[in-house]
Amino acid sequence: MVDMKETLIPVVGVVTDIRIDTPDVKTFRVVTPDGKKAFDHMPGQCAMLSIPGVGEAMFSITSSPTNTEYMEFSIKKCGCVTEWLHSMEVGQQITIRGPYGNAFPVDTAFAGHDMLFIAGGIGLAPLRSVINYCRHYRDRYGKIDIVYGSRSMQDLVDYREIIEEWSKDAGVSVHLTIDREQPEWDGHVGFVPNYVKELGFSTDKIAILCGPPIMIKFTLAGLQEIGFDKTQVYTTLELRMKCGVGKCGRCNVGAKYVCKDGPVFRCDQIDELPDEY
């Protein structure tokens, strides 16, 4: 019996690179001590990182499954585990277990479609995995639009990658916006939901939404206004995950357990859930 793998027991991960994305977001690269990727995953899945003695916390895996060398996590500082993670230096070991939750249906529902990614702030983190997956298997998808907004230019996560890689890809359009005017910013200014409406996308796309609840609420409304159906829109509720295995009793919204049935939900599925998220 004790030979069985126990999902709650993590493996050791080594932080091999730390990138400062914004004043409160850092991206950590994690491999096993022998330099391998800790486990395989699909876009949208999460992993439990922990520092023994400090605690465990669930994060979406921001790197693409197509990256076979390592995993990356973009993590915003909020709470004691993330604070500790932010104070780490390269070479620090942590523990990691996963992958948890379902994934975006990248190979089924998404296949062959035009993709519209809409993210606000740290909400880009879970989408980055999907975006890079779609970019990797570019021919499986149609046109890719990315709408991404943040409070300020400094708060745009992965700005370098967005500018230097994404926006240079063929068939990928990146639409950036920030909440308020800034002298060094010559791009769009305004909130994401409005920007989405302004951009006025054709409605034959799959939209993936991620960001603060208030942004999701208004963007979804905006998408519906311009003709999207809720069945075309996906989002992730990963913030509710605690134990990762759907047993600890916290992650359920109604009868659905985010750890097992989510975190990725189609917006019409969410409508069937009681209003508790």
Partner: protein, 341 residues
Amino acid sequence: MRKISLANLDALFAAIAAEETLYLPQDTEKGAVYAEWCEGATLSNALNTVRSPKDFFFPQTENLMDFKVEGKSIEIIDTRKECEDFVIFGVRACDVRSFEVLDRVFLSEPVDTYYKNRRDHGVIISMACTRPAETCFCQTFGIDAAAPEGDIVCHKTEDTLYLDAKTEKGETLLARLSALTEECDTSAVEAQQALIRERMAKLPLANLSASDFGADKTMEFFNRPEWKELSQSCLGCGTCTFVCPTCQCYDIKDFDTGHGIKRFRCWDSCMYSEFTRMAHGNNRLTQVERFRQRFMHKLVYYPTNNDGLFSCVGCGRCLAKCPINMNIVKVMKTLGGKDNG
């Protein structure tokens, strides 16, 4: 079916304990509790124990693993050990059912090996209830107090204990005890069952029905205004969840011993205000939501995910122990329309 004279009960216990650790309900000044049998220990006559037997499989706290941290490096130590065989004697029908409820959580993928370890090594000897209490309502959930489930089922009469193995585990154990027991027919047991069923029908909660609740009824009950009134005097303590045989919410925490980290799991309660507090906030902000969660889980969410099986077994512990006497019966009577009005 086998039987043994009650006069020989000690011999039976001794024989079981000779090979496996035997736990049975024993009386204390503060009620009956499951305790390890030792020479001279006697079986409690109480209807049920104060705490449920879920501890045997899902203890209040358990160490999951250890860590050694040195400088920047971490060593993970798997502290799991194969559990020793044990026998729990005298489990009531409601509590036996609770194991099934827990199994469906912990043995579903990904399997909880800590739970499975103990479950695999435990033998359950159940006992029919001849004197149910006014707080009993197991029949509401289709449990027959006269015919409990379990590896071995017992019926205790004035002078005899009847044992009937129901599983392979039970057969094995009973076979080992065959020298002490003798084969018998089922007439005495059947007579007792008839008496129990007659008594059950007369209980004050005999007519409590769960038919209004069950799978896929989330939207029917979630936004009911009565939740507010029902929860208004709830203290937000964890009594109901901790005495409940099926409540299984837990928390995983780390403890720094000064020379290593212990990661342990402990019971948690969805009634606690801090239960769902996470870095980003708390999604069950008031006691209304927390209270609703507990009862919706028992009566709707769990059945939705588990083929209609309720995760309340009607043991009545929360009725007896809630400091303010709010309980699932009152919730069912308030919310469940046609049958409980």
